[in-house]
Amino acid sequence: MDFFGIPAPLLFGQLLLGLINGAFYALLSLGLAVIFGMLNVINFTHGAQFMMGAFAAWMLLNFFGIGYWGALLLAPIIVGITGIILERLMIAKLYKLDHLYGLLLTFGIGLIIEGLFRNEFGSSGMPYRIPAELQGAWDLGFMFMPVYRGWVVVVAFFACLATWLVIEKTKIGSYLRAATENPALVQAFGINVPRMMTLTYGAGVALAAFAGVLAAPIYSVNPQMGSNLIIIVFAVVVIGGMGSILGSVLTGFGLGVIEGLTKVFYPEASSTVIFVVMAIVLLARPAGLFGRA
């Protein structure tokens, strides 16, 4: 089977890789969007927190014998709590200042965290095994699909869907949307907005850590794994529109696929295509594809 002279296994293989990368873009940009909407802070620590999720899974396994399934639950909680502490102790002090200060602070903290992990674990990376239940591959006829990769795409999709449902369809979500528009008024209705901001940050960070656990068996667990990814994720956020929940999810998956297809049809451009898209979107729609101008 051929498409435009491209063998099907190559095409679908890259499409799948694109979907997997897209899954991570979507999960990470979703967390960034939620945090930005509520706190007005562009969380540059996000990549480091993704990496911490992967490390938390690794440490849970190697120090406590807790495997993948336990880590999928515990790592987001643990890393989320570090996020809550970070928000209370430092980020919360900057809300009254320009966005730029929050950005600089979180950027600096991200670098520090990455440095600490590099000191402790080196930069070569450590393997993390795919759990027994998700090993192997399905034969789809035209290609082999590793079970774990299919799992990542599906889980990421449902995690995004669940986040979207919470924000759009629940009472807590209505507080969040309202506070994103007018935090002072929401607080004047008797809602403890500062605490909501703390919890929102914790939840966004937990989402990054969750993505980190999903990533651990695919990429090796290493201190740079977040910073490699996060640059692209910021481009995704810019393209989708800062603060748009649905936009960040669709753009995340979409750009992963575009990147995968570029690898097939014009491999030279595959590492830059997202930034080219970003430049075009910024020129045509500065608020992003889904952003409110």
Partner: protein, 234 residues
């Protein structure tokens, strides 16, 4: 005589460096409807915002049912039993009408039920699923008032609910305020519309340059017109 429900003394407030209230004194008894009159920029909105904890620094005293609130955070003030309907209405675009209506949490028992609010404002029920900001100005005002009636707050701060609305709607708002009074709510109403204020209020405070400059009972209003016109600049 019993303690007033709300007693504001020497209230000063700032927005950053700019000093906007210079010692406001007002008191409201349980069950009264009081207006704050005054020209543009007199400090009416700032007074409501300062009571609600929404300005910058504040000093002086705000006693509500005996509790001092001048240093409290706005969510604590709301939970003490004061509800605020802002001049710009503050309807949320990302929430539909029902979500807007249900947003303020219940802070005490005895608030109105959603059904009672729909009876008061039948339009809202018809538009329950519409985006909040897609409503007409009058409907948005009803939504902004309606949503603070559910919470159990007994003191309502309403900032110019009649502003920019057609005369029939203003009349409907007037009916609503009298109905709220009947139900035992206490209302502090900011108004520029004299004639409207006269139809709903027990007493009027007049503000200018960030202080209260005059105080008239409603039945003296007609007789005091000349004096008041001076402050109101009409």
């Amino acid at each position: 005589m019993a303690e007033p429900m709300l007693s504001v003394k020497g209230l000063e407030a700032w927005y950053g460096e700019s000093h906007v209230l210079h010692g406001v004194d007002i008191h409201i008894n349980q069950g009264e409807v009081i207006t704050l009159l005054g020209r543009n920029g007199a400090g009416k909105t700032s007074t409501l915002r300062a009571i609600m904890g929404l300005t910058g620094r504040r000093s002086g005293s705000i006693k509500f049912n005996g509790t001092e609130l001048v240093a409290a955070r706005s969510d604590i003030i709301a939970r003490a039993g004061i509800a605020y309907c802002p001049e710009e209405r503050g309807i949320f675009a990302s929430l539909d009408v029902t979500e807007n209506l249900m947003l303020p949490p219940q802070i005490a028992p005895g608030g109105m039920s959603v059904e009672e609010i729909y009876t008061l404002f039948p339009n809202l029920k018809e538009r329950a699923r519409s985006q909040g900001t897609k409503l007409s100005g009058g409907e948005q005002q009803m939504l902004a008032i309606g949503r603070i009636l559910r919470t159990g707050a007994k003191l309502l701060l309403l900032d110019e609910p009649s502003e920019g609305l057609a005369p029939v709607i203003v009349q409907q708002i007037g009916v609503t305020i009298r109905e709220l009074k009947k139900r035992g709510f206490t209302v502090l109403l900011v108004e520029q519309n004299f004639r409207f204020a006269q139809t709903v209020a027990d007493r009027h405070y007049v503000m200018d340059h960030g202080v209260v400059v005059d105080h008239v009972a409603n039945h003296e209003l007609a007789a005091s017109m000349e004096r008041l016109h001076k402050y109101l600049g009409v």
